[in-house]
């Protein structure tokens, strides 16, 4: 339904967006993922009409969006900085958009009540934004943009200030809106888990350009480029050259098992990526695997990350195991993985 | 070093802090964790001197803090909303605190350069805050407060707007500061993983009161109350009564295996909590376990969450498995766990 075509936007000598093209489907939950400063907010602002691109087109169901004033676009944007109206109460803030549609008062009141209930702020309806905590403000901003049920909802980091519980509730709520009301979502998030679990498709951005657009599992398991492999989830990367077989030829470690994603000519520069949770820590005495010693064990609640120093490899190799780990720093181990658990891709971004 | 004693703060009819007492040790990395609106920011603001408590005392190494003007306190606060000076460049913002110490210009310049390097904004030194993205602003705010190397650093959601990569870098940097410079940290975060992996100790807040202060693993594995069990990490909770043995007596399911954390009188109302990663999905034909059917499988990158509807239990039971799961929604399964993987605690908050 939303077609973004060759959008470019420069700020002085910074190119915030560099000929970005995307197509977002009706009813889809679409996530934008990318490092801080890569142009995500800028793209949303262009779609919403607050920034003019230097080049490119944006159409919504065939209609040219760029020539439409912001208030005519059937789009809601939730601002990364909330942009709550400081002189209005929470209820007034949320009602604002509905009042513009000249809905009967009773309806407005009811819908505002419902949405405040949803975001857990019923008790705060008559407060001013200055009297709210950070997370409460964010929820007001969220409520304000979802209450309108627009055809397209753009959310800029909608849940970044929320704790896991509230966040999970909100995520469910967003999913419900997508399902029941059929809203199309474009969500900016830096939280990969969130993107993974919510989105139908994810676009990974870097320095103003789209690197890959894919479904979550595909993105995670078959990153098309080292950047995506590295950015989406943790990954252990090994450089080398393609061997023409199910392995990478590494200068330091010989042949490393892995599955090429595309046809790679033998000898071409390539990269092998293996996820921490695919790595097995074997006993020092095991026959296969790269020798190393445990550097650090950190507990992340539910999962522990173990970093293993492997001589010859610049960065420590990261392994993830469920629960609290029993390995001790200093322990000698071997790290290994199966060919089907690692991917080999061409080098370059 | 920092002693908070019976601090209470009310805003009209809201009690933001209700007689909070905490002791934070020299060089410690201390995290405040709690739902949105529970009073975290308010506590930091009291420590920094921007809010007066209605009751209570705060001392820093025995010295009464409350009677000291904010600019005399050896404390840096990073504001949740950044509070960057809009009329100053990034470099000026960061230099501000150092200039107040009348450091030689050359030193100021050097330290500003270093810290901007650290937060990855060397290229943005001469921009104004309005020309930065959300995450970039947050990093400026972070840089501004760490560059001073105060004895006590208060950070209010310092990394909430950052992507995983930058966030990991920043986390490392904070750890390094704590180690090398010996700064004491009090960090507010809603990110439990962050709290878990960074903090020496965590205080869990709820509605203005401290629920538990503990080390990460203890907090995760031995929550003292249902609130903490539920709030910190995902958990599956089963209500029932204590049995006086290594099990909970549940009305619907009979005896459920688990380890009581404290001495519980048989028959007292109690709760059993078991982590998703401790749950095993067994075949429908298994002898032990609760019968259920798979409701939903979501992939979070690295780990999959499987929710299982168990008739008789209100909420679906959540199980976590590493990697993409092969179970299909609709499948009949049994969920089970070992007694040592579940904890039993007294009911109530």
């Amino acid at each position: 339904m939303l077609k973004i075509d060759g959008i470019t936007r420069r700020f002085g000598d910074v190119t915030a967006l560099d000929s970005v093209s995307l197509e977002i489907r009706q009813g889809e939950f679409f996530a934008l993922l990318g490092p801080s400063g890569c142009g995500k907010t800028t793209l949303l602002r262009i779609i919403a009409g607050f920034e003019r691109p230097d080049a490119g087109r944006v159409t919504l169901e065939g209609e040219d969006l760029l020539s439409m004033p912001p208030n005519r676009r059937p789009i809601s944007l939730m601002f990364q900085s909330y942009a709550l109206f400081p002189h209005m109460t929470v209820a007034k803030n949320v009602a604002y958009g509905l009042e513009r549609e000249r809905l009967p008062r009773q309806d407005v009141k009811q819908r505002v009540g419902e949405v405040l209930e949803t975001v857990g702020l019923s008790g705060h309806a008559s407060r001013k934004p200055a009297q709210l905590s950070g997370g409460q403000r964010q929820r007001v901003a969220l409520a304000r943009s979802i209450v309108k049920r627009p055809r397209l909802l753009l959310l800029d980091e909608p849940l970044s200030a929320l704790d896991k519980k509230v966040r999970a509730d909100m995520q469910l709520e967003l999913k419900r809106l997508q399902h029941d009301v059929g809203i199309t979502f474009v969500v900016v998030t830096h939280d990969q888990e969130e993107a993974m679990s919510l989105a139908d498709r994810i676009a990974v951005f870097d320095s103003g350009a789209v690197r890959q657009v894919d479904e979550p599992v595909a993105l995670y398991e078959r990153p098309k480029s080292p950047f995506v492999a590295d950015f989406v989830g943790a990954n252990n990367l090994f450089p080398g050259t393609a061997s023409g077989m199910e392995a990478l030829k590494s200068g330091d470690f010989g042949m490393l098992p892995g599955t090429p994603l595309t046809q790679l000519e033998a000898g071409a520069e390539a990269l092998l990526a293996v996820r921490p949770e695919r790595i097995e820590l074997a006993d020092d005495s095991a026959t296969r695997g790269l020798k190393g010693s445990v550097l650090d064990v950190s507990f992340y609640g539910g999962v522990s990350h173990i970093s293993v120093e492997v001589p010859g490899h610049g960065k420590p190799v990261l392994a993830a195991v469920q629960g609290a780990s029993t390995v001790q720093p200093g322990a000698k181990v071997k790290v290994r993985w199966n060919a089907e658990d690692a991917v080999i891709m061409a080098a370059g971004r | 070093m920092l002693k908070i004693d019976g601090i209470t703060r009310r805003f009209g009819d809201v009690t933001a802090l209700d007689s909070v007492s905490l002791e934070i040790r020299q060089g410690e990395f201390f995290a405040l964790l709690g739902p949105s609106g529970c009073g975290k920011t308010t506590l930091l603001r009291i420590i920094a001197g921007f809010e007066r408590p209605d009751a209570g005392r705060v001392t820093l190494e025995g010295e009464d803090l409350l009677s000291m003007p904010p600019n005399r306190r050896p404390i840096s606060l990073m504001f949740q909303s950044y509070a960057l000076f809009p009329h100053m460049t990034v470099a000026k913002n960061v230099a501000y605190g150092l200039e107040r110490e009348r450091l030689p210009r050359q030193d100021v310049k050097q330290r500003v350069g270093e810290v901007l390097e650290t937060v990855g904004l060397s290229g943005h030194a001469s921009r104004k805050p309005a020309q930065l993205s959300g995450g970039q602003r947050q990093r400026v705010a972070l840089a501004r407060s760490i560059v001073k190397r105060p004895r006590l650093l208060l950070l209010d959601e310092p990394l909430s707007a950052l992507d995983k990569k930058v966030r990991a870098d920043m986390q490392l940097e904070l750890k390094r500061l704590q180690h090398d410079v010996g700064i004491t940290f009090v960090v507010v975060t809603h990110d439990q993983e962050e709290a878990m992996s960074l903090a020496d100790r965590i205080a869990v807040f709820d509605s203005g009161a401290v629920r538990q202060v503990d080390e990460p693993v203890a907090l995760y594995e031995r929550p003292k109350s249902p609130f903490v069990a539920d709030f910190v990490g995902a958990n599956n909770l089963f209500p029932g009564t204590a049995s006086g043995m290594e099990a909970l007596k549940s009305g619907d399911f009979g005896m459920l295996p688990g380890t009581p954390l404290t001495q519980l009188e048989a028959g007292a109302e109690a709760l059993l909590a078991v982590r998703p990663e401790r749950i095993e999905l067994a075949d429908d034909s298994a002898t032990r376990g609760l019968k259920g059917s798979v409701l939903d499988v979501s992939f979070y990158g690295g780990v999959s969450h499987i929710s299982v509807e168990v008739p008789g239990h209100g909420k679906p039971v959540l199980a976590a498995v590493q990697g993409a799961s092969t179970v299909q929604p609709g499948a009949k399964v049994k969920v089970r766990w070992n007694a040592e993987d579940a904890v039993i605690m007294a009911a109530g908050r």
Binding site: - | A48, G49, F50, P69, P70, N71, R73, I75, S76, L77, F79, S81, A83, L84, F85, P86, H87, Y96, G97, R100, E101, R144, S145, K148
Partner: protein
Amino acid sequence: MLVPLALVLSYTVFQRGRFGGIVYEFTTSNFARLFDPLYLGVVGNSLKIAALTTLIALLIGYPTAYLIAQLPRKWKTVALVAIVLPFWTNFIIRVYAWIILLSGPGLINSGLKALGLGPFELLYNEGAIVTGLLYSYLPLMVLPLYATIEKLDPQLREASANLGASAFTTFRKVTLPLTVSGVLTGCLFVFVPSFGNFVIPELLGGSKSLMVGNLIRNQFLAARDWPFGSTLTLALVAVLIVLLIAQAWAARRA
């Protein structure tokens, strides 16, 4: 609005009729007269008096506006209205009140006499002019200052204090730069009418010193030389426009 102005300013190139009025014959002599040392001296004197008035107004107006902006909402309005309330009586009456206060046998001297001091010559000098101007235009300083200070995010001041800045440094480095547009507007509002005032120099200064306003008034009314009066006006406006542009420029930078 521009038409009346243009109308008057167009007189600058014409001549005074023998008995007043205007003769529509082109001349540049009016501009030549501008550079008479007499007029330059008057301009210098006016600049001095107006600048001094503006400076004092800023020095006491800023803290006042600052504190008003911090008051609870209820008191804010009261304090603000209290600033302008005296001005809802009458300008000339208030000026006369100062005569009562300052004159030889006036209240201040009587008070000082009781203390065994004085009498001092408080009236009919430049000090009295500055006092009168200050009194007349202080609200014009306070109101725009209030409007900008009120908008300042208190967290910025908190951040500054947290970074170790004293109240004064916070003011100098954060509050002031962020309210510079208000400062400039306030200064303009005080400076301009002070610069062009003619009533106060007459009443409180005893007509003993001349300001640009008196000059213009004299040309328009006494000499009935509208062309030269217009020329003086043009010069005045030119000076002020330069200030205005400087103000707009500084405000944009801030």
